[in-house]
């Protein structure tokens, strides 16, 4: 088993990742103070996406994983976005 030592981030990296996540959370809350209409939603979800990338890359060590896992994760995100797209494509083109 010991030959399979997993590469992971260091303690300091985890703490910096936490700081980044807290700053991004604060930023997403701060943005809600402004009435930007649909841009509020887009900004909140974009910030959530950035936070998710930090968790995936550093806490889940995807950054150090093989290309296989990176491709698989990307595929899952693409499938999700595709599902979102076809749902709204259907919704927008319905005639009631």
């Amino acid at each position: 088993m010991s030959k399979n030592k997993t590469h992971s981030s260091g303690y300091c990296t985890y703490l910096w990742a936490l700081v980044a996540l807290l700053v991004l959370t604060a930023l997403s809350v701060f943005i809600t103070r402004f009435e930007l209409g649909p841009c509020n939603t887009a900004a909140s979800l974009l910030i959530a996406g950035a936070e998710a990338l930090i968790v995936l890359a550093y806490f889940m060590n995807l950054k150090f994983e093989s290309r296989f896992y990176k491709i698989m994760t990307t595929l899952v995100i693409v499938i999700f976005l595709f599902m979102l797209f076809i749902t709204f494509f259907d919704y927008m083109n319905r005639v009631y």
């Binding site: 010991s2 992971s8 303690y11 985890y14 968790v55 550093y58 806490f59 093989s66 999700f80 599902m83």
Partner: protein
Amino acid sequence: MKTNIYNVPGQDEHDVSKFGMWLFIFAELLLFGALFIVYTAYRSRNPAAFKLAGNELELTVGIISTIILLISSTTMAISVTAIQKNNKNLSLLTLGITILFAIAFLLYKYFEWGTRINEGFLPDTNTLHELGPGTILFFGLYFVMTGLHALHILIGLIFIIYIFFRIIKNRINSENYHLFENFGLFWHLVVLIWIFLFPLFYLIR
């Protein structure tokens, strides 16, 4: 060990278990992804009702829940790395903190749900019926999505306590930590899901 030019997992027991864990994570992401799509679709049809219903949820509760989970994810990551580096005490300390934060999150969720139920927002109550279909949908999704997430936290908490005692008994150590490492992935997944639940229910107005 045979050289695998595609670097595909499956070369030994550890790789297989990690591959299985990642497959489970992908399935979970798609499960919650489908719920996010349902939320987004209903929101697009009932924007005013979702906005009004969203105002009933307290932003402070969402922020504190997020901070609790982000810190717990960090302590979990430190704990796994500490055991890999043969630092048992640090691993137990940070895992202990993760347990406390997990309990804090569940208690916080319990009180939050209690408040919402007392206010009459539980599905199929008269208060909710009077507020219209959009509000019923919002609170239906709120209870299903946060409830399913809290169930994951509860299962995670049971596993953390199990791993905590395995570390104390030296059954998990710097040579045999793969179960812990895989479970750590599950915990980060739960935090990842919350990162998206937070804006959907507490931020987007």
